[in-house]
Symmetry: C2
Subunit: 401 residues, 2 copies
């Protein structure tokens, strides 16, 4: 088998952990697999380097920031290759420009578009290739980076271009959980999950993997595994939906914190009005999450509710108050809300899930402030102080404990 | 003018210092010069990375060690380029593989053999090129490093291949001194010195520049300047001997510490005997410094004296005692000796320098244990505790105060 193994920053955060990771790789290599390893920078290193650049100037050159940040993975790459050689595994670091990994797009936010596979493919007959995640080179030959969490994207891109049989993401948790195990002690590790569900869960705060990497894996149907560097437990396998047998309608309960809700009451109901509202927010880099629009009773005006991150609230209100194009009768906001979501690819074929959720929350006197649904997700906005109560309740009634 | 400016690890050891260095470069750039900058890693960084590798294993892969160490200069390169851009100087980092700088030889101990100058030469019309010292790539495309202090070698190689008008070594001292200014307060900065004198002084402990870089500069007649990053004082210019007017016979007084002296008495005087003694020492990586051979009175045997570093003494005695090929009557050793040398390109044409030195030491009752001479240097071995007395005395009588 040809395998891509990716180790995150916590997994290789110390020399002892790097030596431990070398043993995991040895086990896979000794089993006869061809191994490409992708490494992140040591935990905290990328932040330290960003801080260093900011102590020069807050407006540090993005080209040079990429040159600076790329050293983080170069260090772990060399250390891990050295640790493998020490335990008699033939290994070699392959830097972004040595492969090369080609990217396009802006500095600090590039995308991998291609890489040369022939040299490494030859090398895999001799030993383990260790590749720095998160980085590449542009067609001008400049070092580029592909955004935070980009090592996941590197791993998936390698798995795709090298036609690997599996892509294994080693991290500091046992896998993907039905909810946050730190807050919901009864949360359980999920053995199998679909790409879509994984995307919903990770975009909702269960940050085991970078979302765009999961999307790429889904697009090219690359089987992913998320598992722990520190235990031998079986992790979570992420598959195409068709390959999963749904015994349960709901796979997990996720929640996000630090949300705020804004309702514009009595907005004139005509085409283009939503664009008028959200364009200036987008320009101000305010991330709008849920958007709900109700037709009002007079059918000439409408109410628009949306959620944003709490620390964007003042800026958002300023824009809504001062922008001439945005007309409404009244503005209501609540800055102490949270979003709780149930996620499950089986939901669409299971009647009554929606009712069951609403009833459970009502039984516990948890007021629903807004609702949004998709094929595999049902989200509600509630008072923030009720968040954990709601998550625990939903976790129980959908039999996830 | 086209200039190569090199900044050592102390000169760029903090963000504030990097910002200060950016201002020095701006001054040179605004004066209309074309500037290539060479940077070392931040002071201490290379040692930290070596330690990191040794905490994986003492026998860390040399290929991967080079990949690891190269990150040190990559960091300073990016930070300095960013600091220049911040003060509106167009600047760009140029990494070893982007130029590229080609090397040959073993990992961790390579030599620069060539580089592509056309891309950077074009770029110099637009801005300042910032190049990491100490590193290059092999013809296989592996990262290589060129040994400790290698940034000086990079600077001189760039000055040669880019046909620069000057090569300026910015460091944490004002220039080359007539003796160690920390120990001999009357030591003076030398304004002009020949390559040969500089080589003798730096190999004797005045480590302002790496010796092999001075040798390269001498070979290609590249004018060097050594000056301080932290003051505006004029530094030391290092020239070809012919361009220097020698008003003084002696330029400086150097000394080395931690030496030990060994004398083999009654060694059989036949061809090949010296090789028999020094070959096993060389194999054991014991660095032999001075070697003096006297014919003994019976003309059949000879006495051989040599100096080594003190911490090699036990190993050296073991080899001399156990190696069957080395035959002698008696072994004498003294582990509390120091070497004091006067250096000056004018010595050869000034009669009486030797006598003056010996007389001065005799006047102060400093016993000379061994003597070695070259065209521009006269070294004596003395008791270690007399070292500073001897250096001060010689500094005075040769009118260097």
């Amino acid at each position: 088998m040809k395998k891509v193994l990716k180790f995150g920053g916590t997994s290789i955060g110390t020399v002892e952990r790097i030596q431990h990771v070398a043993k995991i790789i040895k086990r896979e290599y000794d089993a006869g697999n061809k191994i490409i390893v992708v490494v992140s920078a040591m935990a905290g290193q990328t932040n330290d380097l960003i801080q260093l650049s900011q102590s020069v100037t807050n407006d540090f050159s993005k080209r040079e920031l990429d040159v600076l940040l790329a050293t983080g993975e170069q260090v772990t790459c060399a250390l891990l290759a050295g640790a493998l050689i020490k335990i008699n595994i033939n290994a070699q670091s392959w830097l972004n420009w040595q492969i090369p990994i080609l990217t396009e797009g802006e500095h600090t936010n590039s995308r991998i578009i291609n890489m040369n596979v022939s040299k490494i493919n030859n090398y895999l007959n001799e030993g383990v290739a260790v590749v720095p995640g998160f980085q590449g080179i542009s067609k001008n030959g400049d070092i580029t980076t592909i955004g935070r969490g980009g090592s996941d994207a590197t791993a998936v891109a390698l798995a795709k271009l090298f036609d690997a049989d599996s892509c294994e993401i080693y991290t500091d948790v046992d896998g993907v959980f039905s909810s946050d195990p730190n807050k919901i002690p009864v949360a359980k590790k999920i053995d199998r999950i679909s790409y879509d569900e994984m995307l919903e869960l990770s975009s909702l705060g269960a940050k085991v993997m970078q979302s765009s990497a999961v999307q790429t894996a889904m697009m090219y149907n690359i089987p992913l595994q998320v598992r722990s560097t520190f235990t031998d437990r079986k992790g979570t396998t992420i598959f195409d939906q068709d390959n999963i047998d749904y015994s349960k309608s709901v796979t997990g309960v996720a929640y996000s914190k630090d949300d705020a809700k804004i309702t514009l009451v009595g907005v004139e109901d005509k085409p283009g009005i939503a664009a008028n509202i959200f364009e200036p927010l987008n320009k101000a880099q305010i991330n709008v999450d849920m958007v709900i629009q109700n037709v009002s009773s007079d059918q000439k005006t409408t109410d628009i509710t949306f959620t944003i991150k709490r620390n964007d609230l003042t800026k958002t209100k300023d824009i809504l108050n001062t922008n001439q194009k945005i007309k409404y009768k009244n503005i209501i906001h609540n800055d102490k809300v949270a979003k709780v979501s149930i996620v499950g690819a089986g939901m669409v074929s299971t009647p009554g899930v929606t009712y069951k959720m609403f009833k459970a929350l009502a039984d516990d006197k948890i007021n629903i402030l807004a609702i949004s649904t998709s094929e595999i997700k049902l989200s509600v906005i509630i008072d923030e102080e009720k968040t954990l109560n709601a998550v625990k309740k939903l976790h129980t009634i959908f039999e996830l404990d």
